[in-house]
Symmetry: C2
Subunit: 431 residues, 2 copies
C-alpha cells in the first residue's frame, strides 16, 4: 500500500525502533489457547521449532533508554479492559519508560484482571530495574477468561534479554492477531531545525479466536515535547485518524493508542502551541493517518481500502458524519466487494447521516488509480459508462468523493468492503 504524505515529512524504514533510543522484542511465551499435544511437542523438538500454528509471538516489550513523556487515548466503551485501568493510573504523571503487551487473552471481564495487569507491570519493572509506575500495559484477545500469569513470568527474562534497537518486527508479530499484514511506519521531521524521528505500529482488527476487533497502537519519538502537549497532539490526531477508520463499526473494550517521547533528538523542547508543535502534530498525523489506512485495508476479510472524502460541508463535524455514514453502510460495503457502482447506496447513506445539509446539492464521484466516474449531481443520478465504472472499481483502493456544496468543512474517513470472509472469520466458533 502506498503511503500518503501530508506536509514536510520524510518516510523511512522501520517502526517503533526507528526513533533513537528505543529497543523492542517479542517472544512466544505460550499464551496459546490449547496446550501443545505430545506429537506437536515432539515434532517441535525434532524440528527445533514449534508447529507453525503455534509459532506466533504473543508477548511484546518496548523500552526507552531513558524516561519519556507519555500520553494515551483509550476506548470509549463502558466495558474497559483491566490493562486500561492500570495504564491510566501509571500515566497520570505523564511519564513512562516501557510498554508490555500480550495477545491471545484480553484480560477483561474476569475476576482478577487488574491484579494480573499490575503483576505484568511489576514483572516488567523488576526485570528492567525501573519503576512499576513507568510501565504501560496492554492486552488483546478473548475476553472473560482468566489470564495465566506464569507464561509471562517465565518468559520475562528471555523477553528482556532479547531487546534490541531493531526488534520492532518481533514486537509487532507479538501483538498481531487476525492481522494479515504488518502495520508499521516511521518518518523523519524537523522541529526547530533539528531532525527528529517518529515510528509506530498498529494491531487491528480481530482475533484468530475472534472476540474483539481491538486496535492497539504504540508510537515512539525522540522529539522533546512536554507531556501536556504530547497528550494534546495525540488527542487531536486520534479524532481525525483512528476515530475515522471503521472495519465494522464495533468499538472494542481494549482499544488503546499510546506514545512515548524520549527527547534524545535534542530539539528545543516543544512546550507551547507554536510552529514546532505544528510540525510535531503533522508528523503524528502522517503516522496515524497511514496506520488508520493500513488498518482499514487489512479489515477482517477486506479486499479493498475505501476512502471517503467529504468537502463543501457547513462544518467539519457534518463532513465527518457523512463520511462515516458512507463507510459504515453494510449495503454500500457489500456493493464495493461486488465492484458495483451502486451510487444509490452511497446517496442513501448520505441521506440518513444525522447531519444538516441540502441533499439536492450533493455531488458524488467514484475514483481510483484507473480513473474517475461522476455518478451523482445535485442529488440526482448522472449517466456514466458501466464499463469505465467496472474498471475504476477493479482497483483495491477506492475513493468516494462527495461534495455537499454548502461550505468549507472537509473530512476523510477510511473503511473497507464487506466480504464472505468477514462473515467466515467472525461466524466461526471461538475454538
Amino acid at each position: 500500500m502506498e503511503l500518503k504524505k501530508i506536509g514536510d515529512v520524510n518516510f523511512i524504514e522501520g517502526g517503533v525502533c526507528a526513533s533513537k533510543g528505543f529497543r523492542a522484542n517479542g517472544i512466544q511465551c505460550g499464551l496459546a489457547h490449547k496446550p501443545l499435544t505430545d506429537t506437536e511437542k515432539n515434532s517441535a523438538e525434532s524440528n527445533n521449532a514449534l508447529p507453525s500454528a503455534k509459532k506466533k509471538n504473543d508477548l511484546a516489550l518496548i523500552v526507552a533508554d531513558k524516561d519519556c513523556t507519555a500520553a494515551a487515548v483509550y476506548t470509549t466503551n463502558k466495558v474497559k479492559g483491566a490493562p486500561i485501568i492500570v495504564t491510566k493510573k501509571h500515566l497520570e504523571n505523564g511519564i513512562a519508560r516501557a510498554v508490555i503487551v500480550n495477545s491471545v487473552n484480553a484480560n477483561t471481564c474476569n475476576p482478577d484482571g487488574v491484579e494480573k495487569a499490575n503483576k505484568m507491570c511489576e514483572l516488567t519493572a523488576n526485570q528492567l530495574g525501573i519503576s512499576v509506575d513507568d510501565v504501560i500495559v496492554a492486552s488483546t484477545g478473548v475476553i472473560g477468561q482468566v489470564l495465566p500469569i506464569e507464561p509471562i513470568a517465565n518468559g520475562m527474562k528471555e523477553l528482556a534479554d532479547g531487546l534490541s534497537y531493531d526488534g520492532n518486527k518481533r514486537a509487532l508479530e507479538a501483538i498481531m492477531t487476525t492481522d494479515t499484514r504488518e502495520k508499521e511506519i516511521a518518518l523523519e521531521f524537523t522541529v526547530g531545525g533539528k531532525v527528529c524521528t517518529m515510528g509506530g505500529m498498529l494491531k487491528g482488527s480481530g482475533m484468530i479466536h475472534p472476540n474483539m476487533a481491538t486496535t492497539l497502537t504504540f508510537i515512539t519519538t525522540d522529539a522533546d515535547i512536554s507531556a501536556e502537549l504530547l497528550q494534546r497532539a495525540l488527542s487531536d490526531v486520534v479524532k481525525v485518524t483512528l476515530n475515522r477508520a471503521s472495519v465494522d463499526g464495533d468499538t472494542s473494550t481494549n482499544d488503546m493508542v499510546c506514545i512515548m517521547a524520549s527527547g534524545t533528538a535534542g530539539n528545543k523542547p516543544v512546550t507551547h502551541e507554536d510552529e514546532d508543535f505544528e510540525s510535531f502534530e503533522n508528523a503524528l498525523y502522517n503516522i496515524m493517518m497511514n496506520l488508520a489506512r493500513m488498518m482499514a485495508r487489512d479489515g477482517e476479510g477486506a479486499t479493498k481500502l475505501i476512502e471517503c472524502a467529504v468537502s463543501g460541508a457547513e462544518t467539519e463535524k457534518i463532513a465527518e458524519t457523512v463520511a462515516k455514514s458512507v463507510i459504515t453502510s453494510s449495503l454500500f460495503k457489500a456493493a464495493m466487494f461486488g465492484e458495483d457502482a451502486n451510487w444509490g447506496r452511497i446517496l442513501c447513506a448520505i441521506g440518513y447521516a444525522d447531519a444538516d445539509f441540502d441533499i439536492n446539492k450533493v455531488d458524488v464521484k467514484i475514483a481510483s488509480k484507473n480513473g474517475c466516474i461522476h455518478v451523482c449531481e445535485n442529488g440526482a443520478g448522472v449517466e456514466f459508462s458501466e464499463e469505465k465504472a467496472k474498471d475504476v472499481l477493479a482497483e483495491d483502493e477506492i475513493q468516494i468523493i462527495i461534495s455537499l456544496g454548502d461550505g468549507a468543512g472537509t473530512a476523510v474517513a477510511w473503511g473497507c468492503d464487506l466480504t464472505y470472509d468477514y462473515v467466515k472469520i467472525n461466524g466461526d466458533y471461538r475454538s
Copy 2:
C-alpha cells in the same frame, strides 16, 4: 414463525383483505429490467405462462369500498422517493380510498419522478372513478432510473378488473422483491363491544437487483377512528415496532407505512385517547410488531430471528438504545450465524451504546425454545455449558435477554444474523 400476542386480540387468516370492504389485486404489468427475449416469449406463449424468472407480479392495488380515514409515516432519509412526496400531499386531508404500488423501479432520484408518481395516481383515479387526491402511491426498486409509465397505464384495466375481496396474496406478491416469505397478518379486536378487523402486509428487505432495502407496509381496518387519532396510533406504534427492527442498519429512501380505516365495523367512532383508542392501538401493535419480526426473520440472507429484550433501564430510551446497539452489531450478528455463544460481543455492543448506565450491573442471558443460558452477571462472565449453549443457539429464533439493573425502562428490538448470503445478495451486480 409463531405469532406473538399481546393483550386481547384474536389472530385470523388473511391480510389487507381481512378487513371488511377492502379489495385487492396484483398483476405483472411488465416492469422487468430486461425485455423478454424472443425465445422467452415463445416459451411463455406455448406454456401459457411467462418464464419463471419473469413471472412475478409487479403492480398492486388496494381499494376500499368507501372513503377511509388514513395516515402514514415516512422514511427519515433526506433522500425521499418521489412517491413519498406525492402521497404526503394526498394525505394532508387525512382521507384516502386506494393504494397503488409498483416494485422493480423505486421512481427516485430521477428527473421526472413526481410527474410519474402523479400519473400513477391519475391512472388509478380514472380507472376507479375516484378523486386523484384519495390515492396513495408507493414504489420500491432500483433508484436513479426513469420509471416507464406505459406498462402501468396498459395494465391498469386488468388490475382494476381483477380486484377481489380475497386478492391480498396477489397484491402481496406484487410488492415483494428479495423477500423469501410472504409477510401478512390479520386479527380481530373489539372496540366498545363491536368486533373490528385489522390486516396488513409488509415488503422488506432488499431487491432482486439490489439497490434499496425498502420497507413498505400497508394496513387496513374496518374500525371507525378519526384521522387524527389514526395518525397518532400509527406514529406511536411505528416507534416501538418497525423502528426497532434492523436488517443492516441502512434506512431506505422509500420506506413508508400507511393505514386506511373504513369504519364499516360500526363501532362508536374513536375520537379521544380513551379505552377504545387503547384497544385500537394494541391491535395495531400486534399487527406491526409481528410484521417487524417477520421482516427481521426474512432479512437478506438471514437464517435466524434475533430478539433483544432489555429491561431494568432508567428510561425506555436507554433500553431502546442498548437493544438496537446489540442487534445491529456486525460482530454479534456474525457470531449468531456461527451459533457461537460469544457473550463478549454482546457485552461489547452494550458497552458502546450511547446511553447512561452502570456496566457493572449488566446481566445477560441467551435463550431459545431449547432453553436458557446465563452468560454474564454484574458485567463479568459466568461459567456455562458450551454444549447447552450450542443447543440453545441451534434454534432459528434466539432471545438475548439483558437487564441493566437500573430502573423500570424496557424495550425490545428485532434483528437477524449476518450471513454469507447477505454479502452475496448485496455484493452482486445490479444486472
